[in-house]
Symmetry: C2
Subunit: 131 residues, 2 copies
Amino acid sequence: MTEDMKRHEECYMKEHCLKYDVCPMTLVQKILSGKWKILILWYLSYKKLRFTEIKKKLPNVTQKMVTQQLRSLEEDKLIYRKVFPVVPPKVEYGLTELGKRIVPILEMMHKFGAEYLEDSFDTSTSEDPLE
Amino acid sequence: MTEDMKRHEECYMKEHCLKYDVCPMTLVQKILSGKWKILILWYLSYKKLRFTEIKKKLPNVTQKMVTQQLRSLEEDKLIYRKVFPVVPPKVEYGLTELGKRIVPILEMMHKFGAEYLEDSFDTSTSEDPLE
DNA sequence: CTGAATCCCTCGCGATACTG
DNA sequence: CAGTATCGCGAGGGATTCAG
């Protein structure tokens, strides 16, 4: 692989992304990829939560996945993890300043999703591609 | 599984989502899940593109994946597919009205990603945010 | 040029059990 | 309560070939 190919390996968006070494869109895609990431961030956007509280909000999800997604979000500096040295253990999760900046995106996602559901496809879904 | 459990299978967000049968956030998560979805939408937000043009912008991606992701986006009504009955074949992809509504989200993602990169973790953080 | 069809393999995710 | 440790499956994704 040539050096030039390497430079474009992650981002070939000449029009919009050439100024960055890593494509911002690809970065966001990676950060948010994961079945429960945006849900967790969405929950935490309202208030700090304990591990069990998060898990309770995610039915049909194993403890392992919750931990895994939380760790990933923590690595990417979107959330913090605060351990209280008490018995029984208490761990609190919340958004970092960086993580808070993603909240508006989540809100727009929610709005889009809600509209998507309401806009119903009952109108025969007749999209007109032809100008 | 009880009926009640089933109702909450996809969305347990009592605080924000109980009014919908399907959680809007989960919906968006599903619609946008896929390694190249948001990149493709991002490209198309600027202009309609032919199949090959899209593929060219996604290095190290197989034809199969491009087709697959495009099909998925088309099923979700975010993009349209227009076939020109010519030889050689010509197929054009573009955003639907529904798809255009997601553009602001993409723009915010890009902004977030760019800031994330620039906000540098060089301040005491020796960790690479990517990988 | 666009895309379908196979084969194949990684890895995301789930289920279960164990620990401080 | 809040985790680790293992095992294993299935889907997502890659490489290649064939077709209209």
